[in-house]
């Protein structure tokens, strides 16, 4: 099972795809290291599936090349690439039973004795007793595992997963996320996973490429992307960010000081993604869970050296482990704050005057020349 195939990295060089006048994927360079779990994350229509299909060979790139290790596979048809795909709708063959579905790839390559391999693979995905059933007799989660088994049995150099968990309900999806991660660790094959679910991407992947409008916005490890977003799209699409429009007041080599709505905020110069000359506009961001909230009466007890903003609570919602506050402040109209329910202050109710404060180290700065609400997910996008 753990047989390592000679392969190496998946390398996309200047790859793009245009349909008539519409550009689905802008020229893109991407390297997926061998053996890694790589996620392409983005909203629908961002070009992530097209990118995946170009790796699979189901779509011809308009420009650029696809290489596996040292081999250029750009012009190889899909059936000649050592790459297999788990499709969004699973695409199991309805006229074949489960074991024949799984054996399909082996048989096409002329391998006669497939029984042992098929049985082993079905055991790996815990479907041994279903070998003789037809796909429509299985539940969604089971079909999904068959689709994974059918692809993995061929020991591809790269396994492509196109929103493989999209059709499952939340609980099953969590379970399958862990399952897929387990299988990936066990077989050591490179996984490229396409998803619109940022939580899924962060839980499963070693590396995430956030795509937007046919371009990769940012590439990195999940924690790195979350802590150091380079664009407002990434800041808003991965989790939630409070973005404040501010003006640079002074800059040293370490610290940038900005003003907004009468407040003075500090942030590390290293975490600024834009020019910070005095007078420049800057978007200042902080994640809601990094912020502490104190009633205005207790303002004196806040330690020195923290960024602070005053405001009034407009809404609060209690969700068990934490409470979410929305605070209206002169600096920012809807400031989100998540507070762990360790000790609850009963004075923190809508209408209360509060002081928000956080460690300046947790602040990041973004170029003010971009839409402040890029990547904010509205209700329609969520599906």
């Amino acid at each position: 099972m753990t047989q390592k195939t000679e392969g190496g990295d998946v390398r996309l060089a200047g790859i793009s795809k245009t349909y008539g006048s519409f550009t689905a994927v802008h020229p893109l360079d991407l390297t997926v290291p061998q053996g890694s779990f790589f996620a392409l994350l983005g909203a629908s229509g961002c070009g992530k599936t097209t990118t995946l299909r170009m790796i699979a060979g189901l779509e011809d790139p308009s420009t650029g090349t696809v290489s596996l290790g040292d081999t250029d596979v750009t012009h190889l048809p899909p059936y000649k690439r050592p790459v297999n795909t788990v499709f969004q709708s699973y695409a199991l063959f309805p006229h074949l039973d489960i074991s024949e579905n799984v054996a399909f790839g082996l048989r096409r390559r002329g391998i006669k004795s497939v029984k042992k391999q098929v049985d082993d693979m079905l055991d790996l995905v815990q479907l041994g007793q279903f070998a003789k059933r037809k796909p429509h007799q299985l539940s969604g989660g089971q079909q999904q595992r068959v689709a994974v088994a059918r692809a993995l049995i061929n020991h591809p150099q790269v396994l492509l997963l196109d929103e493989p968990l999209g059709a499952l309900d939340l609980k099953l999806r969590r379970q399958m996320q862990l399952e897929l991660k387990r299988i990936q660790t066990e077989v050591g094959i490179t996984f490229v996973h396409v998803t619109h679910d940022q939580e899924e991407a962060m839980t499963m992947a070693d590396q995430v490429a956030v795509m937007n409008g046919g371009r990769v916005e940012q590439l990195g490890a999940p924690a790195d992307l979350y802590e150091n977003p380079k664009t407002t799209f990434v800041a808003n699409f991965l989790g939630t960010s409070n973005l404040i429009e501010a003006e640079v007041a002074s800059t040293t080599s370490d610290v940038v000081t900005v003003t907004c709505g009468g407040a003075k905020l500090k942030l590390p110069n290293a975490r600024c993604q834009a020019q910070t000359a005095t007078g420049d506009k800057l978007l200042v961001g902080v994640r809601p869970e990094k912020v502490s909230i104190a009633h205005a009466d207790d303002a004196d007890s806040i330690p020195d050296g923290r960024n602070r903003i005053t405001g009034r609570i407009t809404a609060s919602s209690f969700i068990g482990v934490s409470t979410q506050f929305i605070v209206d402040s002169p600096a920012c109209a809807d400031f989100d704050v998540y507070v762990q329910n360790i000790e609850r202050d009963s004075r923190l109710a809508p209408g209360a005057e509060v002081v928000l404060h956080w460690n300046p180290e947790h602040t990041f700065g973004l170029d003010a020349d971009q839409a402040i609400d890029a990547g904010v997910q509205s209700v329609e996008d969520a599906s």
Binding site: L92, P94, N154
Partner: protein, 268 residues
């Protein structure tokens, strides 16, 4: 009161049985009269039970010859119409090409046009071309009108097919031919089979177009029509009954196989 209640509860079943009887009754009459021993040439009044006709189904001159010709015609027409129709259906669903819309609607013309009009215009065409009327003109005509039925049946099936299944096959090392043979064809098979069955029965049964374009060739429906002028031999009923029984057996056999396949695949 009890009767009304019983009626109300079983109304659907009764209506169903009546409809079935309405459809089956003509076949039953044909069947019963195949065991008749008529007085004179016309087999329209019951005389006495006899198996004479069953013992000698080819006893009437030219009957079995015309039957063989009809079966042969139907087989070739089915083959031709099914192959062509399947290809047309795939082309219409899968590809975008010029005049696709026009072909899409024109293909239904033979279904919509009165048969006698089509028969007459085909005859005009063949005469003007100087084509000798006979087996080949009839075959060409049959393939033509069977085509639209095959296209309709196969198209419905192909449209409901997920194109990702073929992508999955290509992704799993199946080349274009393998993909077609292993995935596309088996999944489209029920539609193709339905189209082929339709084509067979339409061709076997056709009278009007055949009569116009057959020249001196005589098919089974033409034979029945021709002999009905002079008298109806019992053998016609025998052939009719045999066709009916064979058709029913084929359907039952198909259902039996399907249900067995379903049972063996279901959880134990």
């Amino acid at each position: 009161m009890a009767v009304v209640k019983w009626l109300r509860r079983n109304l659907v079943v009764i209506a169903g049985l009546l409809t079935l009887a309405y459809m089956i009754l003509p076949n039953v009459v044909v069947m019963v009269f195949s065991f008749n021993k008529p007085n004179g040439r016309f087999n329209y009044a019951w005389q006495q039970f006899s198996t004479d006709a069953w013992a000698d189904p080819c006893g009437v001159a030219d009957l079995c010859g015309s039957l063989a010709l009809s079966l042969q015609l139907a087989a070739w027409a089915t083959l031709g119409a099914t192959i062509l129709g399947t290809m047309i259906a795939f082309a219409l669903v899968r590809y975008r090409f010029r005049a696709r819309g026009a072909i899409n609607s024109l293909i239904f013309l033979p279904m919509a046009m009165p048969e006698v009009v089509m028969a007459a215009s085909l005859l005009t065409l063949f005469l003007n071309m100087g084509a000798p009327l006979g087996f080949w003109t009839v075959l060409i005509a049959h393939i033509m009108f069977c085509l639209s039925f095959v296209v309709t049946a196969v198209k419905a099936r192909v449209m409901s097919m997920d194109p990702r299944l073929e992508e999955a096959a290509r992704d799993l090392y199946a080349g274009p031919v393998q993909t077609f043979v292993r995935v596309t064809l088996p999944i489209a098979a029920p539609g193709i089979a339905a189209g082929a069955l339709l084509a067979f029965s339409l061709s076997f049964d056709d009278f009007i177009i055949t009569n116009f374009n057959a020249g001196s060739t005589v098919t089974f429906p033409m034979f029945v029509w021709g002999s009905a002028q002079r008298g109806t031999p019992v053998q016609i009923n025998v052939i009719g009954t045999a066709m009916f029984v064979i058709a029913v057996l084929v359907v039952l056999g198909g259902q039996f196989i399907a249900s067995r396949r379903k049972n063996s695949a279901s959880p134990k």
